[in-house]
């Protein structure tokens, strides 16, 4: 038997290997594991969300100190986010000066930022592509901008320190 016919023969045999059925319980086992993993991840995110914000701010400070090139879009967004966040933190709002509508708007924006922080934490944990992470950071900067705008427009007596 030549090498060529041997190989061909082998391929034929491989193609004829019997095909076996899966056990019926396997899909439910997979679903159970999947749901358990998601529950665990949500719990971890809940605990880690606050810590993540602190880490992100710290990293942004480190990156700024390390003079990251301006062309690095992600680093630029992180630095911008950091700046806006500092401004938001430093805003003092006279509570009585805010209309109910403004309070609702601020609450919604803050909630959206928290959700985004969780999405970012998940993206980093899953080692998602830079493009996806950059898009999340863009959205975060946009929301921080909206937060500041709400303070500026509705915050009667609000001032930047």
């Amino acid at each position: 038997m030549t090498a060529r016919s041997q190989t061909s023969n082998l391929e034929n045999v491989l193609a004829r290997l019997p095909s076996e059925d899966l056990p019926d319980h396997l899909w439910s086992r997979i679903l159970e594991t999947h749901h358990a993993t998601r529950r665990l991840r949500r719990r971890r995110l809940g605990v880690g969300g606050g810590l993540f914000a602190v880490i992100v701010i710290s990293l942004a400070l480190v990156f700024r100190g390390a003079d990251v090139p301006a062309t690095d879009r992600l680093a630029e967004l992180q630095a911008r986010g950091q700046l806006l966040e500092e401004r938001a933190i430093n805003y003092t709002i006279a509570g009585s000066g805010l209309s109910p509508a403004a309070r609702i708007e601020l609450g919604e924006t803050r909630a959206a930022i928290l959700n985004l922080d969780q999405a970012l934490a998940l993206a980093y944990a899953e080692d998602r592509p830079d493009a996806e992470i950059t898009a999340l950071w863009e959205r975060r900067v946009e929301l921080l901008g909206r937060l500041l705008a709400t303070y500026a427009i509705h915050g009667d007596g609000a001032q930047a320190i």
């Binding site: 038997m1 090498a3 041997q6 190989t7 023969n9 082998l10 391929e11 034929n12 045999v13 491989l14 193609a15 004829r16 290997l17 019997p18 095909s19 076996e20 059925d21 899966l22 056990p23 019926d24 396997l26 899909w27 086992r29 997979i30 679903l31 594991t33 999947h34 993993t37 899953e126 998602r128 592509p129």
Partner: protein, 183 residues
């Protein structure tokens, strides 16, 4: 749940899976799980291992579906995950040996032979038996290349190696089979 039918998964189902819809994953599972199972079974020759592979591979599929960009077919993407998972599961079970150990079989390969001796030549039966005697690493390369049609580049990448690595393992595996057949 039905298994094994070679169904094409449409873009809409993939989009639903990306949104995390369990029903969409169930459709993907119904379309491809049996092929994954048989791929793992042919490499490992062990049903329990093959079940573990399908379990782990589909968990990964559910977690990573958002990273699937449609550059290759969904089956190619799932096959890649399955092959990679098989290698990892076998490594965990310490079935993996050095490539130099080409004369020793690893694990517990017990794949049934195809068909009956009435319609198969003796050489074919010999090949199946000898396939089971191959080290699992060589058998993996052989099956992925000759049966699944994966390229040497893809196989090399699975092992964190170059395509030359895959060519070399395949060459040695075939050489061993030929040699065993002649003895």
């Amino acid at each position: 749940m039905g298994q094994g039918s070679i169904t094409t998964i449409d873009e809409q189902t993939i989009r639903r899976a990306r949104r995390g819809e369990t029903e969409a994953f169930a459709e993907i599972y119904a379309a491809y799980a049996k092929r994954c199972f048989n791929l793992a079974l042919r490499i490992s020759g062990n049903r329990a291992v093959a079940e573990d592979v399908v379990h782990d591979a589909f968990i990964k599929v559910m977690q990573k579906i958002r990273t699937y960009r449609g550059e290759a077919s969904l089956w190619s993407w799932i096959r890649q995950i399955t092959a990679n998972t098989t290698i990892n599961v076998l490594a965990r079970r310490k079935w993996w040996r050095s490539l130099d150990a080409l004369t020793d079989a690893d694990g517990d390969w017990s794949m049934p032979e195809p068909g009956s001796s009435d319609d198969r030549g003796a050489a074919e039966h010999d090949l199946v038996t000898l396939l089971g005697r191959l080290p699992v690493q060589a058998r993996t390369v052989l099956i992925l290349h000759d049966m699944e049609g994966m390229t040497h580049k893809e196989i090399g990448a699975l092992f964190g190696q170059t395509e030359s690595f895959s060519k070399s393992v395949l060459f040695r595996a075939r050489k061993q089979l030929e040699s065993d057949l002649q003895t």
